[in-house]
Symmetry: C2
Subunit: 192 residues, 2 copies
């Protein structure tokens, strides 16, 4: 089920830059609409209310806003994987490498063992589900920590990039608030 | 006036790593407590309710959570300055360079002219007020855009790093939810 308010915002303010790149800098990625993010978080929390999550996990930077709002409604802590190791982090960490096609190079995803441990039940939230590479990286970190993945939620799924199939072997529910089937010829086509 | 719930959380979960570094990775900077951030945002919004802001401005990464929650209560968009230019940003941007003493090198702060323009009234929100270097960078970007700075709010001020004096020439109200006067000898001493 598409989330109507997010779909309408993409129709109004999203831009198809070509090459499968959807610009949502006006309300998600550079300028953020807090009330829209709050509504998206509330809806993701509703969809995952039954999975028994104990942590929300995301990746900096653009996953932070939707993950924070989802975690607020689930009353859970949110952990965001860092892309570089700050001085405040212990020497030994969980680290994986994920290719980033919007950046054109691989990025590191790093989590401190202090905040993700054995026995945790992890709900991954991110802004986009595209190829699934970042989310697969977060799933590997979850596994490395001995924690259990219980669900994956995103704001916008680009169905034509195949991420859902890449994530299917993880065997957890996947929810996207809006699904886009095609961005060919400058269009933004939504799934029914 | 200190915000009691944040002060108590720092006393319980904050760690003095020496060299003036306060580790708050368990509730602000790596793992985030959404309800605490919501309460901090509500309090910052209350303190700046009268300044007539039209935009909240922060810097990625750790400013995003408090700025998002403040903006939610003020019902304003929040813009976070990027540290690298994504492909979705126009070729011509506002860019400044700010020294980062936690990173040990200068970082770029970049804002698209699409989301900060002449006539905007800017409230800067960040997690820490330390030397003030990042906030001064955000103030320069505000000026470059022809916008007006109307206030500066942070969660935690390290008074001994002198940021408030560095920001005083900007001539706007500065509010911090918690003020720390000393971190010598492994202690964390709060202002009264």
């Amino acid at each position: 089920m598409q989330m109507q308010v997010l779909k309408e915002r993409i129709e109004r303010d999203g831009r198809n830059l070509g090459g499968g790149i959807l610009k949502v800098d006006g309300f998600i990625n550079h300028q953020v609409d807090p009330l829209l993010m709050d509504a998206c978080g509330q809806e993701l929390a509703r969809r995952f209310a039954g999975v028994g999550a104990s942590r929300v996990l995301t990746a900096e930077i653009s996953g932070i806003a939707p993950a924070l709002m989802t975690a607020k409604y689930l009353n859970l802590p949110v952990v965001y994987a860092r892309k570089s190791k700050p001085v405040t982090m212990p020497d030994t960490v969980y680290l994986t490498v994920a290719p980033s096609h919007t950046r054109g190079h691989a990025v590191e995803l790093i989590i401190s063992p202090e905040y993700l441990g054995r026995g945790e039940r992890v709900l991954i939230i991110d802004d986009f589900l595209a190829s699934g590479a970042t989310i697969l990286g977060l799933a590997r970190l979850t596994q490395a920590a001995g924690a259990t993945l219980v669900g994956i939620g995103t704001l916008i799924e680009k169905i034509f990039e195949g991420g859902r199939a890449a994530l299917a072997p993880l065997g957890v529910p996947i929810e996207s608030l809006v699904c886009i089937t095609s961005m060919d010829n400058g269009q933004i086509v939504f799934a029914d």
